[in-house]
């Protein structure tokens, strides 16, 4: 087995979830998600499409990982769309994106995300960057993935202080009540494991623990009670030698993910 960084593991795990022929969108700091889309295209999903919200670049293809607004991603991309045009997909359309990959300062047991404020919004303890387009992508994309690697009781909390991107809402039932077109959060990937949501109550449920992580440690570092799956809890399959080689020799050749500076 080859050693790997947690960001590399997250990229590989997400790449295995992405489906062929789907169209995805990434947000402003998406190094791990970018690597996952590239890996998916190079393996099981050759006809996957993805674009950057900020720059409007479609199917970028460099051999180094850069922030998704970065000009380094323009070379070799298949399109560079103007925001005046692509906001129709991003900010309005109900049907354009099959998936989005989102992050945040907090995620809660119903998969709601917060990038706005921790504490009272009017006098926040931590003022976050803002909601940007994640609000509408969480609502409209057919489903979304959450990458929040830092896993602590503060980041995985019972209820986010501010819903800037809706999962299943504060009750777990709000998507249906609002008539939102998307199905909501599909999978959460953290440094400790992967998590999905129960089909009835929409509560976050353990899917797998990453290698070497115990259930006790996961519980201690989570701010709410995670639902247990039926049957034994699996271990996240490790990246294969081939997957790591692909990642390191053609996508992340400068080791941005390996250096732990991403996401």
């Amino acid at each position: 087995m080859t050693a790997y960084a947690i960001a590399e593991l997250a990229a590989v795990v997400l790449s295995r979830e992405l489906r062929d022929e789907e169209v995805g969108i990434l947000g402003t700091r998406s190094e791990v998600a970018y690597a996952a889309c590239r890996m998916a295209q190079a393996t099981r999903a050759p006809s996957l499409w993805f674009m950057s919200g900020p720059s409007g670049v479609v199917n970028p293809r460099g051999d180094t990982i850069a922030p998704i607004a970065d000009v380094a991603l323009f070379d070799g991309a298949e399109a560079l769309t103007d925001l005046t045009d692509n906001i129709d997909f991003i900010d309005w359309s109900h049907r354009f994106f099959d998936f989005a990959v989102l992050g945040g300062m907090q995620v809660d047991r119903f998969g709601n995300l917060n990038t706005v404020a921790i504490g009272d919004w009017a006098a926040p303890k931590v003022r976050g960057p803002g909601a940007i387009g994640a609000s509408v992508l969480a609502a409209h994309a057919s489903s979304f993935f959450v990458l929040l690697l830092r896993h602590s009781p503060r980041t995985f909390c019972p209820e986010v202080d501010f819903v800037s991107a809706v999962g299943f809402g504060r009750t777990g039932r709000e998507r249906a009540e609002l008539g939102l077109p998307g199905a909501g959060p599909e999978l959460v990937v953290s440094e400790l494991g992967t998590f999905d949501f129960t089909p009835d109550t929409h509560e976050m449920r353990i899917r797998t623990l990453h290698p070497g992580i115990t259930l006790d440690e996961l519980d201690a570092r989570t701010g709410f009670a995670l639902v247990r799956p039926d049957g034994p809890i699996g271990v996240t399959p490790e990246p294969s030698v081939a997957e790591l080689e692909l990642l390191r020799t053609s996508i992340d050749t400068t080791g941005v993910l390996a250096g732990g500076d991403a996401g």
């Binding site: 970065d70 000009v71 560079l80 900010d91 309005w92 006098a123 003022r127 976050g128 994640a134």
Partner: protein, 288 residues
């Protein structure tokens, strides 16, 4: 203005095409009064018209309402210098160098009126202004934004009887928009080598537009590549030859990451932020 051209043989003289070339300080003195609504283009570390930002600080403007694209040191510098007291933006970040320190400090203390918006509300507001409509229309996406910004997110019923949940958001018109492009001419034509972000919407919607460009080139050069002109000059009020540094400029130069890191570290404290902007204010004292 300029020299008059004499048409040989007729004695008839015609005026020359008007130049919009300016300096940053002249443009700010003329177009940005205290209390103005200022739109800011670019995206985080790219294509932010930083010389125009610095000129606003040098001019010691007060009480500005900043309508910002997702930004980094652009909005940060204006906040650190204390020239802004209202902000409408979907995102401010110092990217890999952490949360935006001046934004965080001003918002946490309640010293800044934050009109909390997401991307759709900003885009719809700018589009409505560009189209001379009173409001734009967006979907209800189930966030807490309407709770903290009810003045922007107004629930409206579909007048045609549909059941979709919608918000009207008011037209958002800046008095002056600042954008940066890679090159332009004295008539204000702006050519972009990469992404345009919110710059086109800002230019279409604002009352006046001040642009900085890395290079002023002859109009004949502009004409050789008209597809690069994403903001035609009739939208531009004044054009300034100046770089985006320490931000990068697509296709010309990278962001100065060392300087951006230096700002992020300095501005972590209020004293550090004041020290960082002090040279700009000192240069203002000299020019006045």
């Amino acid at each position: 203005m300029g020299t008059l051209i004499t048409e040989q043989g007729t004695g008839q003289v015609w005026p020359q095409r008007r130049s919009k070339l300016s300096t940053a300080d002249e443009a700010i003195a003329r177009l940005v009064p205290d209390g103005a609504v200022v739109g800011l283009g670019g995206w985080t570390f790219w294509n932010t018209p930083m010389e125009l930002v610095r000129a606003v600080v040098r001019a010691r403007r007060a009480g500005l309402h900043l309508v910002s694209s997702p930004g980094a040191i652009g909005p940060e510098l204006l906040l650190a210098a204390g020239v802004v007291d209202q902000i409408t933006t979907p995102f401010v970040t110092m990217e890999q160098f952490g949360l935006a320190p001046a934004f965080r400090r001003a918002a946490s203390r309640g010293e800044l009126v934050v009109h909390e918006v997401d991307g759709p509300a900003l885009a719809a507001g700018l589009r409505a202004a560009a189209d001379d409509l009173p409001f734009g229309l967006i979907h209800d996406t189930g966030t807490d934004l309407p709770r903290v910004n009810p003045g922007t997110y107004r629930p409206v019923a579909d007048p045609f009887g549909g059941s979709m949940r919608l918000f009207a958001v008011p037209a958002l018109r800046a008095d002056v928009a600042f954008v940066h492009a890679q090159r332009g001419d004295v008539h204000g034509n702006l050519q972009f080598y990469g992404a345009t972000y919110f710059d086109q919407l800002l230019a279409r919607s604002a009352t006046t537009v001040v642009a900085s460009v890395d290079e002023i080139v002859p109009t004949e050069v502009i004409r050789q590549a008209p597809h690069l002109t994403k903001v035609p000059g009739m939208l531009v009020t004044a054009i300034v030859e100046a770089g985006a540094n320490p931000c990068g400029s697509h296709g010309r130069y990278e962001p100065d990451l060392e300087e951006l890191r230096r700002y992020a570290e300095a501005a972590a404290s209020e004293e550090g932020a004041a020290a960082y902007v002090a040279p700009l204010l000192a240069s203002a004292a000299v020019t006045k």
